[in-house]
């Protein structure tokens, strides 16, 4: 295993991860006054996370059905404000149970 190559690759990855995070924060030190830009930036967090989640969540497990079951549980729990702590383990548990069922039915 060529460790020099691996270490250099890790350094490259770290840099291209850090720079996009650091530059805007270091450069834009003043409050932006433009109302459109302000509104735009206020909606960014939700838009980014929504685009990352859907439809990717459906392909995050071994089977579409188990992922759909897990997603449904996550959406319902989030709607009733059950919090981050309960949500991730609950949807994982539902995926696990669904996949056991799918196995039993010979679908997985």
């Amino acid at each position: 295993m060529n460790y020099t190559r691996i270490l250099l690759a890790i350094l490259v990855m770290a840099l291209v991860t850090y720079l996009p995070r650091m530059l805007p924060l270091a450069i834009f030190q003043k409050k932006i006054q433009n109302r459109f830009v302000k509104s735009f930036l206020a909606y960014v967090p939700y838009a980014v996370l929504a685009a990352m989640t859907f439809p990717e969540i459906l392909y995050s497990t071994s089977h579409l059905l188990s992922a759909a079951a897990g997603m449904l549980v996550a959406l319902v729990l989030a709607y009733f404000n059950k919090g981050l702590l309960n949500l991730a383990p609950c949807s994982s548990a539902v995926v696990f149970v669904t996949e056991q069922g799918l196995k039993w039915m010979g679908m997985l």
Binding site: M13, P20, F54, S62, N81, L84, L87, A93, V95, Q100
Partner: protein, 258 residues
Amino acid sequence: MAAEKTARRVPPAFFRGMKDGLPICLGYLSVSFTFGMMTTENGLPIWVGVLISMSNFTSAGQFAGTELILSGGMFLEIAVTTFIINIRYMLMSLSLSQKIDPNMTTLERCILSFGNTDEIFAVAMQQRGSVHASYLAGLILTPYLGWTVGTLLGASAAGILPLTVRSALGIAIYGMFIAIIVPPARSVKPVAVTILTAAALSCVFRYTPGLDGVSSGWVIIVCAVIASALSALRYPVDEEEEKQKEHDCGHPEEEAGR
């Protein structure tokens, strides 16, 4: 590093940040666990996986980068792929730059921006008023520990967990995203509209022949920019509301005692 800086007289906001970071920390444990398993299963020593997690502190980007390291990808290929996946951070950091305490020093900005992950960003943005350096440092510290420890555990335990358990853990990170975006969407209609627009656009990219080849990093940024711009045009943030928020954050003690 951030902890040492504030060690002399640790402000309560730091601990409040650590506490708010705890749910993210637990969520990260399972995601980085999967990452750790992936590294050792492919023959990398444990310390390599841990080093990647500690130096990158990102999910999708480091998964993709590590896969390229394993498949013998060139440096340029690794750089470009990781960068495309990470472009969204530019948008997020720009958004965060408007949310943080305007008096935050450049050094503090340079250090704290390292911890601007999707989840930490989302939680920071949901705070009332502007976000101070000590709060942000705490909010980063606990998830960072979770990310590192999770990788270590996963890298050490690879092969012990059956495939079904690993498959079930795959959904955890999306569960976290849903937990972050759904509750505010319930009470604020423009937020709900933004989420639905972005999700619908993302589905269009995924299921339209021809568009499905676009890499996920670009898809995220295009969907997020269009959805946020449409919402900004339709539902401009109320100036008065902003002033009210500014007014609210004038009482950090009250907020801290919440």
